[in-house]
Symmetry: C2
Subunit: 699 residues, 2 copies
């Protein structure tokens, strides 16, 4: 069958799953609906899939190898070889099979019964490199064919997602896949400036990226809150600007190698001329106002900015970027350029005189002047400039890349003028928005005004993990699994847009991502154990099913967060988006559409659990001062779950409720929607839908 | 009160806990008994504790700083300062308090209301350095006083273990502690040879070691299965001998610095002349038999050994150890020396001739000759030799250290001849033995024949994490929390020996160790999720409460394990020792002693859960081929749990059971005691005690 993503027949299946799971006391919605017949869990969805009958069974004799009798030219097979070894280790890990092949040693050409891969040439880590592959599984073996070894890597991830089990053992289903990415720039930005994240965090996220076929790691290395990379030329930068929290150059090389092994580019960002307080701890003379400066602890947009009128900064940048250009092989170097607050420039008479002298009408023109100077420096060291929207000013060559954080309009504008661009607006995963919002955010929507030539200038997008509110304990749960939805938007055909199927597949991909060492599923439990100072966390886990952190920038309104604040509260143990809450919402809609009592029964179980949970939360709150703030959330959840149950009763009886009842319940729902503990209930709207349905619709 | 470790009044308390927890469907025994009145959770137990009335309450204004108006001499406060910063971060993390002090920046001398620390001098990372401290908490603040900054580090860990909560918030109880270690060498060996464990594994375990006041990390860097350290002098060693899995020298320096910041020495081991296959991949000519050699994948004692008759090995070792001596600042260097299998030596005519020529009677004498040569090389590079029992041969100077893996007899022998020694026999944590066995294994037991002078030569001990059967996913759960019991044996007074209280405190310390990023509590769930390919793992968790990996070397009898085998099966998700099973055993004994029906009720709940669990395990087994092997364990647990319930019924009625009944049940218990899935049921003996009690004892 070619249509792999049919809609789940989830009503019945979910009801059965709820019954089965209810018996063991597990969260009924956590397990998610089973895979619909014939559907696959592939994510991102390939460009073309034909599923056939038959299975290639795997056992301890499974082998992998490059096809062809002659050994490949020296050095050309290393990346694919290493990827094949990781693949075999993951197969062994998932199946418990004691594979006989010594896959860490030389892999002889696989026999026809094994997994054979073949490619023409090593891929280059550049935009528009060929990442396509075809994958054919038949009962006797697997053939993976690609132009480049990077295509092989992408195909091996697909193959691993096909690993299945039946009563006879493990197998790959017979299938033909032909696949290639829609966009060539599929990135994840990790902000190590505001909170530092050490190399193991970066590495496990690189593995996560590879699993969903992303190919650009954008390291946001400098910020007001920290200068996070060793400079051997100007060591005071990291020595004074980082609290000792920075990457050594050896670590950067390690990251680059690790990424390259996974077909991922590493693009560094040095955010200038604003967002640069940490540089000035060592070099206050380069700022636009006198120092001294200290590492910024708070978050926001701050005044300190480089002084473009100070001639001495240009030789400094020349030497600095020479060093960094030598360290990072990627042809692109991101110079930030966003949110120059301007106050320091306005207050500095020398800068005002400089602007006048050079005919620079405003601060935008001054920044353009600065960028022109930088551009020459980068060009001298062989780098192309990337910058945020603000750098898009007249006079820059068209080989720069505009990185859009402000909105799709800038993509269109840039493309109109022949500039390449990358979209991050709509992919701000730090804002704790639903995966759906990111998923439907297409860099080239169907109504794009661009012609085909201009469209090709839109290179792709990047999920941005800004790190004001994340530590190394919580960052994985903020990135994953939602970023897999963005990865699919950037890889898969535009027509792959079923939100519900995306959510269904997020469950399995989230589990698979744990193989990379990602802590997104593990650390919430740990944070809860720490909060209760004991192992008894179930009531908190049940509550967390229905709670999400405040969206957008609202959490900053609840407290003055700094880089030293604790990110160990209940809100930090809640997923940015609760998949159980999402599923609850889908089930409510399904029930309202069909009025199927079996669906109602599933909803009832969940609501009853949430309602009864409050009594279990209270003793935990009483014994842990750090948990006191969650009492209103737990109380609110119990209250609105009770309303949900009342509404289901009314709907079951087919008795519309009077307007006064509706008004009263909506009042309670509004009350429950208020933030508490920097978080909010995620199921208010869905329960509101049940209440609303009581107004008139009867069976 | 000075007697902090009173016995728990656990009967009643556990029964209540079981009732409370049963209601939420959580594992009744998992939470463990609550802390008895007046007891503390300190581990290792301090030498002297006086708990007083009163509490020092902490809030956002908490500060820490070195006492004294004048700033300390440059460089002397760095280690204590960093430790204080980590301390504050952990307090913030546990309490959720937004501390106002910028504890990453300069810490001004703390006011009287904060935490003040004072020490005389930076400690040296050497045996017999002063690690003592006194800690005084009164309602107005904390004073931590030590001779060295290392003492401050030890005291800060104690203070963190004192952090408590009540209805008013968080506090430290008023207390006076005077503490110092009993032994000066409190080590953990991590074998990175058989399975490599990257730097983040080492770092998180260093933090774990620091939390329980251990002070020696012994890195077993070379083995038949891998050469795990970069040599710039002989790069082919790591290039050919490691599959690319090794520490760079930059990483080694990072580890050493990280350890030093925590008051921990790093001692490298290069195991020669045996256990050395991986060296010979690059240098077959140094072996005692012709090559070629390949990295060993299997485990055991292998033939390849350096050829002591080959004069060329000595300049090689001279250059190699010169390089390593420069890398590792510790004065001790471990040369292994264990288990030289001898076959290669016996089969090599040149070696036989060499022995004859030099009057070396046997292979022991040949190894002694080799060691004498090595000793000169180490001495030249400023290192003292450490080696396993086998190096203890005539003619070595008394400043070497004998590392005993064979047994306490060698400690006594060595001390008798004036040699220092370190005990690892009895601390083999890889063997999955109970913490109790390690805990009661005293390097200097009460009946030691040594006089006081000789006793001082017994420096301490090391837990040994041999890594045949562990990967980076499972190693933490093999090390922790049991190693905390060893840490207590080596730090605390010999009189601290209550096994039950040790087990009680293992629970809280295990949770606290998660702060170090240790995955011992998190990864078992992940492995179970991977096995079921879904989130529904509760039945497996219930089963795992009653299952432990086979002890000793028995697991090797179940399969031919290699370094490529999957360590992702159910057995790998089971703790080496199940604390719930241990607690079940204690409760059975308590019940048999008192026949208290409330205790019986608690046991009944647990047994019923284990009995009913089998029906929930079966569907998981059916859908996951990798889980099939656990069916006998689950069936067996259900069966013997039923027997336990029958026995409790009989005991409740006061009706002795006939001998035939006892025989029949014991037969079933014997059957259930058989290994399956490389594991075994851990509660057979305790249930057997209930059966046994039915034989005659009636109420």
């Amino acid at each position: 069958m070619a249509q792999q993503f049919s809609r789940p027949r989830a009503g019945l299946i979910l009801a059965l799953a709820v019954l089965a799971l209810g018996a063991v006391g597990e969260a009924p919605l956590l397990a998610g609906p089973p895979r619909p017949d014939g559907a696959l869990d592939l994510m991102p969805a390939p460009a073309s899939v034909t599923l056939r009958d038959g299975r290639f069974r795997i056992d301890e004799g499974l082998t992998i190898g490059r096809e062809g009798a002659a050994p490949p030219p020296a050095g050309t097979d290393e990346r694919a070889f290493k990827a094949a070894a990781r693949f075999m280790s993951r197969v062994s890990g998932r199946t418990g099979l004691f594979l006989k092949q010594d896959y860490l040693a030389a892999q002889p050409a696989a026999a026809e019964s094994g997994i054979r891969y073949v490619f023409e040439r090593p891929g280059r880590l550049l935009p528009n490199e060929d990442e396509s592959y075809t994958l054919t599984v038949d009962p006797s073996g697997v053939l993976l064919d690609a132009e480049t070894d990077i295509g092989i890597l992408r195909g091996l991830e697909t193959l691993l997602q096909l690993l299945s089990a039946d009563e006879k053992g493990y197998y790959f289903p017979c299938i033909s896949i032909s696949d290639k990415p829609r966009f060539t720039w599929r990135g994840l930005l990790i902000d190590v400036g505001r909170h530092f994240h050490p190399i193991e965090v970066i590495k496990r996220n690189l593995d996560g990226m590879a699993a969903v076929k992303m190919n650009v790691l954008h390291l946001h290395l400098t910020e007001d809150q920290g200068f996070r990379i060793e400079s051997k030329v100007f060591p005071r930068l990291h020595e004074l600007g980082s609290d000792g929290l920075y990457f050594t150059q050896a670590q950067i090389r390690d990251i680059i190698d690790y990424a390259a092994d996974r077909g991922i580019r590493v693009m560094p960002e040095f955010d200038i001329p604003g967002h640069s307080t940490s540089w000035f701890v060592a070099y206050p003379e380069f700022a636009s106002a006198p120092g001294p400066y200290a590492i910024e602890r708070k978050f926001g947009v701050f005044g300190p900015a480089f002084n473009p009128a100070n001639e001495r900064i240009y030789p400094f940048f020349d030497a600095f970027f020479k060093e960094m250009a030598g360290l990072f092989p990627d042809p692109y170097l991101h110079i930030g350029g966003d949110e120059v607050e301007g106050h320091q420039w306005d207050a500095n008479p020398a800068i005002q005189a400089f602007k006048k002298k050079n005919g620079l009408a405003d601060n935008n023109a001054l920044q353009a002047f600065f960028n022109q100077r930088l551009l020459k420096i980068l060009a001298k060291h062989g780098k192309k400039m990337v910058g945020w929207d603000e750098i898009f000013q007249p006079g820059l060559p068209t080989d720069i890349v505009i990185h859009s954080w402000r909105g799709p309009k800038s993509l269109i504008e840039a493309a109109g003028k022949g500039y390449q661009s990358v979209l991050s607006n709509g992919y701000y995963i730090d804002l704790c928005q639903p995966a759906e919002a990111h998923y439907l955010n297409d860099p080239l929507p169907a109504d794009s005004p661009l012609d085909e030539t201009r469209k090709s200038l839109v290179l792709g997008g990047e999920a941005t993990m800004w790190s004001e509110l994340v530590t190394s304990e919580t960052i994985d749960s903020r990135i994953w699994p939602r970023t897999a939805a963005i990865a699919e938007r950037l890889w898969s055909p535009a027509s792959v847009r079923s939100v519900e199927d995306m959510y269904r597949r997020l469950g399995p991909i989230s589990l698979a991502l744990e193989e990379s060492g990602l802590l997104h599923l593990k650390n919430p439990d740990m944070l809860l154990r720490r909060l209760v100072q004991g192992p008894r966390i179930r009531p908190l886990k049940v509550l967390a099913e229905a709670v999400e952190p405040l969206e957008g920038y609202n959490r900053h309104g609840q407290a003055v967060y700094t880089s030293l604040s604790p990110f160990t509260r209940f809100v930090d143990a809640c997923a940015p988006e609760s998949l159980p809450a999402v599923r609850f919402g889908f089930e409510v809609e399904r029930f309202l559409a069909a009025k199927d009592p079996r669906i109602a029964e599933g909803l009832r179980r969940v609501l009853a659990r949430w309602k009864d949970n409050h009594a279990l939360v209270l003793p935990l709150v009483a014994s842990s001062p750090a948990l006191r703030e969650i009492e209103p959330l737990s109380f609110g959840l119990a209250r609105i779950s009770g309303i949900g149950l009342e509404a289901l009763d009314a709907l079951a009886k087919g008795e519309p409720r009077p307007a006064a009842w509706i008004t009263e319940k909506n009042g309670i729902l509004d009350e429950a929607a208020k933030p508490a503990a920097h978080a909010e209930l995620a199921v208010v709207k869905a329960i509101g839908r049940l209440v609303e349905a009581c107004a008139g619709q009867a069976r």
